[in-house]
């Protein structure tokens, strides 16, 4: 335990530009979500609850804003005037709601990581934004600084709360995942337990994971296949090809779609101008009719 040790360790975690300084190898996990395919059915959200042992907080706590949905489906109505926040005057069914699945964007330069006083949230070499529950003291600074507000705090001791998982449902809890105690922050992990299990299983064969060998829970259940997850470095992977087809760059601050104006491209990342470099690409909706 010395200052030298501190400085050496430091360089492993912190570098000047998270995107370029340490190249990801052999994995960079990323996602793409086709909003045109999304029907807002919420299956992804339910799958996430089952896979990640998310507590079902109940009506009252949900209404109080204490819900723990790592994956949430947001609903947007078209507006007449883009500067106004009021919904359009025309009838809603005419146009239909637009849906957007939102979860941790696993930013490459994550605003949450730099502000944590205890370093409980860090970047992994495969490009995930990790959260160490045991280290978290619950200052909630990470959530305060998250532009997407996708971090969820354990406001109560959910595992011991009655009816969070009804009696027989405790049998379906995922044994690969720890239960989170009162006072720690949590968020979408890109189903890191599946990634790690997959990595271990191919390690003996001396190869890296192939596309499709690891699926996230939300991807697995999406009935329309709107969610694609995979290794961005692997040029064979579907996610890589989708990012390439949409000409979306991980290290760019503005994508081709927005540069060109009238463009056929649909790929963008949310709040890109904040330069957090998210790992999730969205493809914007093209159909105009209701679902």
């Amino acid at each position: 335990m010395s200052v030298t040790n501190l400085l050496e360790n430091w360089s492993e975690f912190r570098h000047t530009h998270p995107v370029n300084d340490v190249p990801h190898d052999p994995y960079k996990w990323a996602m793409s979500i086709d909003l045109d395919a999304c029907t807002g059915c919420n299956a992804c959200s339910v799958a996430c609850y089952a896979e990640n042992n998310l507590p079902v907080v109940g009506k009252e706590k949900y209404a109080a804003g204490h819900s723990m949905h790592w994956m949430r489906i947001e609903r947007y109505w078209p507006v007449d005037d883009t500067t106004s926040l009021e919904p359009a005057t025309r009838e809603f069914p005419d146009q239909g709601a637009q849906f957007l699945p939102m979860m941790c964007q696993q930013c490459e330069a994550a605003p949450c990581e730099t502000v944590c006083p205890v370093g409980a949230t860090n970047h992994t070499p495969d490009g995930l934004n990790s959260q160490a529950y045991n280290r978290c003291v619950g200052s909630r600074y990470c959530s305060a600084n998250c532009p997407f507000k996708v971090r969820y705090f354990n406001w109560y001791d959910y595992p011991t709360t009655e009816n969070v998982w009804p009696a027989e449902m405790t049998q379906q809890l995922n044994p690969d995942i720890t239960l989170r105690s009162k006072g720690v922050m949590e968020k979408c992990t890109f189903c890191v337990q599946r990634i790690r299990a997959g990595e271990r299983s191919v390690k003996n064969e001396g190869r890296v994971l192939k596309d499709g060998e690891v699926q996230t829970a939300c991807q697995q259940v999406c009935p329309t296949g709107a969610i694609t997850f995979g290794n961005l470095i692997d040029s064979e992977s579907k996610v890589h090809q989708q990012w390439k087809a949409q000409r979306v760059e991980l290290t760019a601050e503005e994508q081709e779609k927005d540069k060109e104006g009238e463009s056929e491209l649909r790929g963008y990342r949310i709040l890109e101008e904040l330069r957090a470099y998210p790992s999730v690409m969205y493809m914007e909706r093209v159909r105009e009719s209701a679902i």
């Binding site: 109080a64 804003g65 730099t114 502000v115 370093g119 619950g138 909630r140 109560y156 006072g183």
Partner: protein, 457 residues
Amino acid sequence: MKDINEDIAWAKINKDVLKSLESPRKLYWVILAVAIAMISVAVGCEVYQYNIGMGVSNLNNPHVWGLYIATFIFWIGMSHSGTLLSAILHLMHADWRKPIYRFAEAMTTFSLMTAGLFVMVHLGRLWQFYYSLPYPNDRGLWPNFQSPLLWDAMAIFTYLSSSILFLFVGMIPDLAICRDNMHDGWRKKLYTWLSLGWEGTDRQWRNFRITYLTIACFLIPLAVSVHSIVASDFAMSQQPGWHVTSFPPYFVAGALYSGCAAIITLFIILRYTFKFEEYMTLSILKKTVRLTFAIAMIWTYLNAIEFASVWYGHDQPSKDVLIQKATGPYAPFWWGMIFCGSVVPLILAFKRFQTNIPVLLVTSLLLNLGMWLERWMIVAPTFSHGYYPWTWDHNQWPSWVQWGIVFGSFGWFTLLFMVFCKVFPSVSMYEVKEMVYHRSRAAKKLEASGLQAKGAH
């Protein structure tokens, strides 16, 4: 009007101040009882929150920060004017500070202690708070040195320990007076121990002066840095309404402002309860009031700068937050802050109110209400109108648990402060003697020169 009557005998100064350690007015005990009642409310709320979970505070996702952080900044801010009076004015040789700097310095220490409690109350797992301190451990884990919260923890610990040292060192000659005059009992033992064998020799005085000056010089940059760092919690983040370059000076000005207002309040209370009318004179009050007015105007100016830079900037989300503050659900509090912080201090500009005690008591309380609202209006609205639309339709208000703890913190501060003033001399005896001496010499000189001038004609 004189700052102090230069005919007061030194023995009388000793007697009057020592009397404050023995027999305060009845109001003292009333204040103490009320303070303890307030603390018990807060303790009850905190025990409840600790056992059930942070959810009972009605904070939620995404409103993860609330009154705790706002009140934390408020108490940190309060601590600044003690340093202003004791260190900055000391270096500037403004001798009118002498009768009032001791309690201002005590205010610094105790408001820092109160602020520290809010960090604990705010943490989700307060039993693990020490993770945020850089302590050696066999896991080789360090805190995250990039985080402004960590700078906060370190700056506050440094400031607290230095200001306790400063308060103590400045009190040594007075503690010796207490030791020599106090009847036997635990307090005599305490004074004997704390006065470190002070005898008032030349050598001791010389060393004392150097030490005191050194700590004063050390404390000033520290005070400025502490609140700049608290401002960095917000300015270094990426959120609209927080990401403002002018926050550090704005926070420091706000800190001095609320601190000066608190000094006026405590001045009035101490003057009455401990019968300090002869030392805490209206003339000194007037000077403090003028200082407060000046700082109020600086704060108003910096506030206007912040609004203007957001308004004329091209950052639409920040502009939206500003518009929401003025027109949204927080509008009554936001306008309340503008009224209490920028309009109410105009009362202080009128000469006839500058020494009017009832008016000043009400005004100083209103100023601090405004400054507390300011902190709340910095913290909360950003969560209701951030970058992301999902946050926009959330309407969230603090629960009685949050209000109870905030309420009780004022009792906690008052208790610490009042106990201090009863146990330790809250007016600096040796410095008031200096002041009286210098003033009477100056008066004699003036008289002599006046006589000469007359004689020449």
